[in-house]
Structures are given as C-alpha cells and as structure tokens.
C-alpha cells in the first residue's frame, strides 16, 4: 500500500513537534528534580550579608544608595511591571502596608524596567511603596535575581533572613516577620559573592538603566 506524500510528511512533522515538546518537558523536569546544573540559585544565600545597592528612585528621579545593616530591617522585592505574579506581589505588599504590618520595615520595589513601564500595570501605578530601577548589573548578580518576583528579607544587621519567590499576603507576612528576627548567634556571617550562571532580564537591563 502506497502512503500519500502528504501523510508521510505530516507524520514526520508531527514526530518532530512531539520531540521538541518532549525536550521542553524533560528540561523542566530536570530543573524540578535539580538534576541539571542549568538553573542558577535564586536569591541571596540565607544567613549571608546583603550587598549594597544603587537604584534610581521613581518618585523623584534621584539616585539612591542603600546599605543594608544600617539598623533598619529591609524588605526588597525584585519585580517587573510586565509580570503578572509581580503584580500580585505588589498588591499583597500594598495590602500589608495599608494594614500597618510593614511599618517597622523599609520596603523597596526594585525593577529593571524604566519608569514609563509602571503605567501599564494598575498595581504598580497605584502602589505607595517606594519603587526604583536597578542601576548596576552587580546588584542583580549579588542578589541572584534570576527571575521575578523575588522577595528578600534583610534584618537590621544587614543579614539575609529569607529569600524566595513570593506572591501571597501570607508569604509577605512571613517575610516581614523574618526581617524582624533577632540577630543569629554563633559563627560569623559569610559575604555573598556567588555570581549567577546565566544572564537574566534584570542583569541584562541593568547597564542601560541610566538611559531612561
């Protein structure tokens, strides 16, 4: 029996498409099981000293220099206006802030996007939290902000107490509590120096940040 040419071609094309999808799923599975080394660690190491960072504050277009460990606990949120999960996190942070749950903290939203991008997101446009654009590639590297949203809790001594993706209000509360934990006793705090293995949106955009 002779197979029509179209059927033969369609079979091979479908097989190729299935193969591509299989590779996508396999890679994702590999990451989930930590069996590949392509996934860079996300967020600074818990217990390490948080790095200083430089950002352009959107409210007044001034360059700010933040040094964690100046006595004020800090909650850093690495977010992007183009990311739906980030919008949820910003809304959750706003809710917590309005409820007075973040009054003891310095809360800072950091993005790689220019100020004009804030208008595309209702959550970012409406937030009263301080928001700024990362100015140095080293900041994204030091905080290993390889994807967003990323929430980093830093205590009054500048020690990273929690670092992970977060979206919900309950997670924000957990992180805000982590900021206020008493200082750890015992061994000295290691400095975070590990660079990420691959470039991210934040890292790629950081050098051009001053152009906006």
């Amino acid at each position: 029996m002779k197979i029509p040419l179209y059927l033969a071609v369609a079979q091979w094309t479908l097989l190729f498409a299935f193969g591509l999808l299989l590779i996508v799923v396999y890679r994702q599975l590999g990451r989930a099981l930590h069996k590949t080394d392509t996934a860079a660690p996300l967020g600074p190491e818990v217990g390490s000293k948080a790095a200083s960072l430089e950002y352009s504050r959107f409210a007044d277009d001034t360059v700010q220099y933040l040094t964690p460990g100046d006595g004020q606990p800090t909650l850093l949120a690495f977010v992007e206006p183009t990311c739906l999960s980030c919008e949820k996190l910003v809304l959750a942070l706003g809710t917590a802030e309005q409820a007075g749950e973040l009054s003891d903290l310095r809360v800072l939203l950091l993005t790689s996007s220019p100020k004009s991008y804030l208008k595309i997101s209702d959550a970012f446009r409406a937030t009263r939290l301080e928001c700024g654009r990362i100015l140095a590639q080293a900041t994204a590297q030091a905080y290993r902000a390889t994807s967003t949203p990323l929430l980093v809790a830093i205590d009054r001594d500048g020690v990273v107490r929690a670092a992970a993706p977060a979206i919900q209000l309950a997670e924000v509360r957990t992180f805000s509590r982590a900021c206020l934990l008493p200082p750890p006793a015992g061994e000295p705090i290691p400095i975070t120096a590990t660079a990420p293995q691959h470039e991210t949106d934040l890292e790629a955009a950081a050098p051009a940040a001053g152009a906006d």
């Binding site: 029509p4 040419l5 179209y6 059927l7 071609v9 369609a10 079979q11 094309t13 479908l14 190729f16 498409a17 299935f18 999808l21 996508v24 799923v25 994702q28 599975l29 990451r31 989930a32 996300l42 818990v46 217990g47 183009t82 739906l84 999960s85 996007s113 595309i120 994807s147 929430l151 809790a153 107490r161 929690a162 670092a163 992970a164 993706p165 977060a166 979206i167 997670e171 957990t174 992180f175 982590a178 934990l181 750890p184 955009a205």
Partner: protein, 180 residues
C-alpha cells in the same frame, strides 16, 4: 519541490496547534499581552475572552490545515495569520519593546524585539511557500488517515498545553524561610 511545500504546510499547521494549545494553558497571561494592543480600557473578562478566542482560533486553523490539506483556501488563511504575526511583532517592537509576547504561552520567554520581527517574517515566508501548487494525488487522504491525523494533532495540542502548564508551574516554587 512538493516535499518542501508540504513540509512548510505541515510545519505551520503544527506551529499553530502548539501555539494555540500552549496559550490555552494560561489565558490570563496571554490576556496581559492582548491588553498591550488594545488602546481602550477594556474589562479584564473581555480581555480574557479575546485571549481565549485567539488561542482557539489558532488551534482550529492549525487542526483544519493539517487534516484538510486539499482545501487551498486554508493556505491563504494561514498566510493571512502569518502576516498578522508580522504586524503584531512590528507593533510590539515599536511600542512595547522588551515586553514578553507570550506567543507560545509559558513555553517561550520570547520578547518583542528585532529578532521576533524577523522570526515572524520567516514564518510568513514559509506560509507563502505553502501556497505553491501541489498535485492532487499527493494530498489525497482517506477518512481513516484524516481521523488519525486529527487524533495526532489533538494529542500535540494536549502535549503543548501540558508542557506549557508544567513550565508555568515550575517558575513559581514554594518560598523557603529559614529562622534561627
């Protein structure tokens, strides 16, 4: 030559099926991209409905193009869709550069950039190749073959849906909080 034209036709059909299936796994995410191209302030449910309609449209055209190869009008429709891709990529590049296009849902992290416009142009070129005439004998399919192709295409859409869902879920791990 026939093989080249048929490769182009089936590849585009598969592309539409994968794109439609992947987008359907997370319509809310694709709706945020749709919002970029609607200048008016539109309610979120309407945006979601448009996103689902676009995804289903892609899927339907892909399935029809794959299982009904003798209908040449579908080739023209696929070319029109490819031209729409070029237009969307160009507008995205001009006004929303760097934003995620969600062309394949969570399967791809591609953004509106110059390379995206080029990719769309290549797709349109392939769609133009698929317009070329192929002998009727090469396109003849019996009912069984048609049903099997439809089943395989449906499976491809389901695989794309699942793969996109897996990738989407994989990007939101549980938070770790260490207390001392």
């Amino acid at each position: 030559m026939d093989v080249l034209v048929l490769c182009a036709k089936t590849a585009l059909a598969c592309l539409l099926i994968v794109a439609g299936g992947a987008k359907l796994s997370d319509p809310a995410s694709f709706a945020s991209t749709v919002r970029l191209f609607i200048p008016l302030r539109v309610a979120w449910p309407l945006l979601s409905a448009i996103a689902v309609a676009v995804s289903l449209g892609e899927l339907a055209v892909g399935l029809a193009s794959l299982t009904l190869p003798a209908i040449t009008a579908l080739n023209a429709l696929v070319l029109a869709i490819a031209c729409a891709f070029v237009a969307v990529s160009a507008i995205g590049y001009a006004f929303h550069r760097g934003r995620s296009c969600r062309c394949f849902g969570a399967l791809s992290q591609r953004k509106f950039d110059a390379a995206g416009v080029l990719r769309s142009a290549v797709i349109a070129g392939i769609a133009a190749v698929a317009l070329a005439h192929v002998g009727a004998a090469a396109l003849q399919l019996n009912a069984t073959a048609r049903v099997l192709l439809l089943a395989a295409a449906g499976l491809l859409a389901l695989a794309a849906f699942t793969a996109a869902r897996v990738r989407g879920a994989g990007s939101e791990p549980e938070p770790k909080v260490v207390t001392q």
